[in-house]
């Protein structure tokens, strides 16, 4: 015969972190629409290029700068490269960088914030002062500085972006951890002799889930945007690798004669940002009790 407490423990154990997050995501209509749109675009970028009978690299000068047609749905650029394929391949880079850099930011931010919030006192003060200092400058400026320092390969770009985006995550996590630290179940775990690492991983981390999920979904579009801005300025991903930022830049230069070079990448980019913001906003409404009832 189980006691009530045991039964409760058993029932909470059955819900894993991932499942909890998934249910919260599905509960909101805005998040579902945005999520569906985004998954559609991502899948298109991932498997689409295999079905288009053109290469994004081969240049065919004879077919240069053609308007959209049945063979080239989105037209071609001056070198005869198919814009549809280039847009899809560019999307892989943009979305890939968006996710990878967000994961870097997530990892650093959560660990840093938890440590600062859990230990408190001088450690926290010193750690957060460092964050505040970096916060004094816009992220774009820091990333441009880092790209000047690190060079301009994809790997370094996403490291540079991850290196600034964790700051906000660290702040959010710190605040939450500080509040959780005062809860009695943490005291109970300490009294029970659990090592600090276990307390952080098993007791603090699961309770950080909602704010971290919300902020992560809002970080991904911010990162994609940041990467595109840097690439648009010519300081990011370098040709022949392309991302949406580069394609939009190429299109912007030629917009008076070959407008399709701008329109299609810009459309894909904006739709992605739109969809991801929808997911983030929907989630925030669903998880944040303060904003409930509005919108």
């Amino acid at each position: 015969m189980m006691t009530r407490l045991e039964r409760e423990l058993a029932s909470t154990d059955a819900r894993s972190l991932g499942r909890d997050a998934w249910e919260q995501l599905c509960a909101n209509r805005m998040a579902r629409i945005g999520g569906g749109l985004f998954i559609g675009i991502a899948l298109l970028c991932l498997i689409g290029p295999f079905f288009v009978p053109h290469s994004h690299e081969t240049t065919q000068l004879a077919y240069g700068a053609q308007a959209p047609s049945w063979t080239h749905w989105f037209g071609t650029d001056e070198l005869g490269r198919d814009i549809l394929v280039r847009t899809l391949i560019g999307g892989r880079i943009s979305i890939g960088v968006g996710f990878a850099a967000t994961m870097v930011a997530l990892l650093i931010g959560v660990v840093y914030g938890m440590i600062a919030g859990y230990y408190g006192g001088r450690i926290e003060a010193a750690m957060m002062r460092f964050v505040d200092t970096l916060y004094a400058l816009p992220f774009t400026i820091i990333v441009i500085l880092l790209t000047v320092l690190l060079g301009r390969s994809i790997l370094l770009i996403f490291l540079a972006i991850g290196a600034v985006e964790w700051l906000t995550m660290a702040r959010i996590v710190r605040g939450q951890t500080k509040a959780l630290r005062k809860q009695t179940f943490v005291d109970a775990a300490i009294v029970g002799g659990a090592p600090t690492r276990r307390i952080l991983a098993r007791h603090i981390l699961p309770n950080l889930l909602s704010p971290v999920i919300v902020f992560t979904t809002l970080t991904i579009p911010a990162v994609i945007l940041l990467e595109s801005v840097i690439s648009f300025l010519g300081l990011g991903v370098q040709p022949p690798t392309s991302s949406w930022g580069i394609l939009i830049n190429e299109g912007a230069v030629k917009l008076d004669i070959y407008p399709w070079m701008l329109i299609f990448p810009a459309l894909f980019f904006s739709l992605t940002i739109f969809a991801l913001n929808f997911v983030g906003d929907g989630l925030r409404d669903a998880l944040d009790p303060k904003s409930m009832g509005e919108s």
Partner: protein, 306 residues
């Protein structure tokens, strides 16, 4: 009040020092000096150039020289634009960026605030969806997408404005709209949720109950409180307008500080990059202080926080 200003100014000093030192270290770590491109010049000339810019000194001496110069407001010579000091370039190009940024902020406030307030007053009616749909559009169209599209429509098709430049008043329209629209949209969202929160409060019901017209309730009672979030956002907005101007100035070929900064990052013009970053840091700290003061003036409750 004055104590707070003093405290904030003192807090700014270590921040600026860390940023200055960090930029210095970063620039030192970059492989290759600023003059390595010109391979064919003789070694003696190379040595002379390095000596002229103090690049032959030991690292720590370079560092102290660097700090001392910054304190005097001397940002050193630009490595790329020979004969120009970084402060001269900043002095010449920053007014352009400032003008662009202020216009954009003005547009953002005068367009965004009424849209947000109106949307809140029309809550759950179709007109709210139209207004907030516009706001969502502004948020999802970043400057580097919006700018080229505006050029395409208003310069190429309609021929109303020049596609680039910064000479006539008409030249300012497209860049300002490009830079300001995102902030207009964001401010609209902040104003809407601020207004929705306030309209639920008791004192608004009281104002209605004593028979005030809706317009008077909104203008005299609700607006001030509803706009706190908008004012709080002005600090981040200024920082964003600064980095947004990199893109807008590049698209429209505007000779502002942003385009100089991007160019110097290209050319690895280290004094120019360091100088500009430091200048931006001072600027942002100053505007944040200004925004805090405005907030305290508007909302007495924030005055006792510090």
């Amino acid at each position: 009040m004055y104590l707070l200003i003093l405290k904030r100014l003192l807090q700014a000093i270590p921040t600026l020092w860390v940023i200055a030192t960090a930029t210095f270290i970063l620039m030192q770590l970059i492989p290759g000096g600023p003059f390595d491109i010109e391979k064919d010049i003789p070694e003696e000339v190379q040595a002379l150039i390095n000596a002229h810019y103090g690049l032959d000194l030991p690292r720590h001496e370079q560092y102290f020289r660097f700090l001392e110069q910054r304190l005097r407001g001397d940002f050193g010579p630009s490595y790329k634009y020979a004969g120009w000091d970084v402060d001269e370039i900043i002095a010449q190009s920053f007014p352009v960026s400032l003008e662009l940024g202020l216009y954009a902020l003005l547009v953002a406030l005068t367009v965004g605030t009424p849209i947000g307030v109106l949307a809140a007053l029309r809550h759950n009616r179709p007109s709210e969806s139209v207004l907030m749909g516009f706001a969502m559009l502004g948020i999802c169209l970043p400057a580097f997408v919006l700018g080229p599209i505006l050029i395409m429509v208003f310069s190429m098709q309609l021929g109303w404005f020049n596609p680039f430049g910064w000479n006539t008043l008409g030249d300012r329209v497209l860049p300002v709209v490009t830079l300001g629209l995102f902030y207009a949209a964001y401010i609209a969202r902040l104003a809407r949720s601020g207004m929705l929160d306030v309209m639920r409060l008791d004192y608004i019901r009281t104002a209605h109950a004593k028979g005030l017209a809706q317009k008077a309730v909104v203008m005299r009672h609700a607006l001030r409180t509803a706009l706190y979030p908008v004012v709080a956002y002005l600090g981040p907005a200024v920082a964003g307008l600064i980095s947004g101007s990199f893109v807008v100035e590049t698209i429209f070929f505007i000779p502002g500080l942003g385009s100089f900064f991007v160019n110097s990052a290209f050319n690895r013009d280290s004094t120019m990059v360091m100088g500009t970053v430091l200048f931006y840091a001072v600027l942002i700290l100053f505007f944040n202080l200004l925004v805090d003061l405005i907030q305290m003036w508007m909302n007495p409750r924030t005055r006792h926080d510090d």
